[in-house]
């Protein structure tokens, strides 16, 4: 069944879009990431204009993070104070990111920026995850004890705040900066940024793993909501109909994903996610390195109009 998308101005097969929503939902349920990093490139691959893909992807992530955060909230796994610190940075960062997006779109460099960000971040994070999970699989017996109170330069920063749920007493600056940087990326890449935020929370901020996903989801809601609104105002690129189809598929997929996820060993899950992340990154890298079949291209509608 074909449906005409009012903003993307093209006709898509509802079932293909639903299936994509389900697929991304399953991944997000399995791995606890938003799945935006897969959804946005896949939408672009299916011919949705890049600006619409990025903005609509952000809109879809609002729904999946609301759904996810409620579950974590009931289990008491959301550090709201940390979430607020991250999201203040996130709102600022995503506003700058959207501005950058609008500017570079007019300059014709937005595809390059989106692809480069994907290649760099998916590549780096994929490798780190792969190495980490491979270690975990190989040395499963040896329990690595992560010390909670290693004092680094981060602990010497001013404006210390007590984050009770995270059992941390650190400066508010690192969460602000992390939130800011992830916010910029989230606006440019059309992702929630969970796949960057989660490692940053664990390794940079030193948060306990239990509250990481819930808190990350909490702040992602506001950052992606901000991106959705700003993209809508600046670029008119949010396709609400496409978002609804993706959301419908996504919530169903996320439900089953999280059920399957509890039956599979964590490190195998992380290893397969890592492989997936690297594959998406490599695919986009090839796009940038191989000579395109036509070096001339027509700018997407709306540019310099």
């Amino acid at each position: 069944m074909q449906v005409y998308l009012p903003i993307a101005e093209m006709s898509v097969n509802v079932f293909v879009m639903l299936a994509m929503g389900v697929g991304v939902g399953v991944l997000s349920g399995l791995f606890g990431v938003g799945g935006g990093f897969l959804l946005t490139p896949m939408l672009i691959f299916l011919g949705i204009p890049a600006d619409v893909a990025v903005a609509t992807g952000a809109n879809q992530i609002v729904a999946s993070s609301v759904s996810g955060v409620l579950t974590h909230w009931r289990r008491g796994n959301v550090d709201f104070r940390m979430g607020f610190a991250l999201l203040i940075g996130g709102i600022l960062g995503s506003s700058l990111g959207t501005w950058l997006f609008t500017y570079l779109r007019a300059a014709g460099q937005i595809d390059l920026l989106v692809k480069l960000s994907y290649v760099v971040f998916l590549g780096v994070i994929g490798w780190l995850m792969l190495i980490e999970s491979a270690r975990a699989i190989l040395w499963r017996r040896r329990k690595v004890i992560r010390r909670q109170h290693v004092h680094t330069w981060i602990h010497r920063l001013p404006f210390k705040v007590r984050f009770r749920r995270s059992r941390l007493y650190i400066s508010v600056l690192p969460p602000l900066v992390v939130g800011f940087l992830v916010g910029v990326l989230s606006a440019i890449m059309g992702v929630g940024g969970g796949f960057i935020m989660i490692p940053a929370m664990i390794y940079i901020l030193g948060m306990p793993t239990a509250v990481v996903i819930g808190t990350s989801l909490f702040q992602i809601i506001f950052v992606t909501a901000n991106v959705t609104i700003l993209q809508s105002v600046n670029n008119y690129s949010v396709d609400i109909l496409l978002a609804l189809i993706l959301i419908a598929g996504g919530v169903v997929g996320a439900h089953f994903g999280s059920q399957w996820g509890s039956r599979v060993r964590g490190e195998y899950l992380r290893a397969s996610l890592a492989v997936l992340v690297i594959l998406v990154g490599v695919n986009l890298a090839v796009d940038l390195l191989v000579e395109p079949s036509d070096i001339y291209s027509l700018a997407d509608r709306g540019v310099s109009r």
Binding site: Y4, S11, A63, S232, I240, L244, A254
Partner: protein, 251 residues
Amino acid sequence: MNRPPILAPLLFLTWLLATQHPVQAQGVVADISESAVSISTGFLGTDLLLFGAIEPDTDVVVVVEGPPEVATVRRKDRVGGIWMNNDEIAFSDVPTFYAVLSNRPVDEFTSDVTREVYGIGVGDMTLKPLRLDDQKRGDLSVFRDALVRAKTFRGLYHKAERSVSIMWGRLFRTDLRIPVNAPVGSYWIRVFLFRDGQIVAAQTSVLGVDKVGLTAEIFDLAHRHSLAYGVLAVLVAAVAGWVANLAFRKH
């Protein structure tokens, strides 16, 4: 949508020609199967039937032009190993849609000058750069060709040299494909009759392509009240997420 500015002088010429041949007043009478195309949620593109009466022993050329836009063509170059957009030319008054339909190849019975003056033929359109200094560029035609190539690839530019059929020398008919990605606005349809390489009659009509129903409402809201639309999109998504969470919680 406004009348395309490049059409204005052409229309005047057409009118002049029509009035200079009063004996051929009947000339050409053409009509379309639909007076408007409505893009609704189920739109997949549509085929229109263009038909009419002509004078005997004439060739028929139908030129269809969508609303004009500024179109930017970019060239990628390898910069530091990466293929990136490195150069661009913006063209003004580019028809968003362009189709030329005829009963036989137009260059068999028209001169280059005629085609250029009347803008007949995808390759004969005069696409002008937006910036004057781009006018002198040596590679202008390469960019121009790339524009036509990209539009053709998207199904927006179209040339069908034997698609007009003439019956009993007095009637013509042809199918006009409006693709799914057709831009909204006014489409100018010009029907030319040629005899011995000269235009003997012409008729212009307008076809409206518009979004209707839900599609139109969403599009209007997104463009006219973009802030409210963005907030609405967020609220809808948040409620959907909340409902989904409640629905699956019970299991």
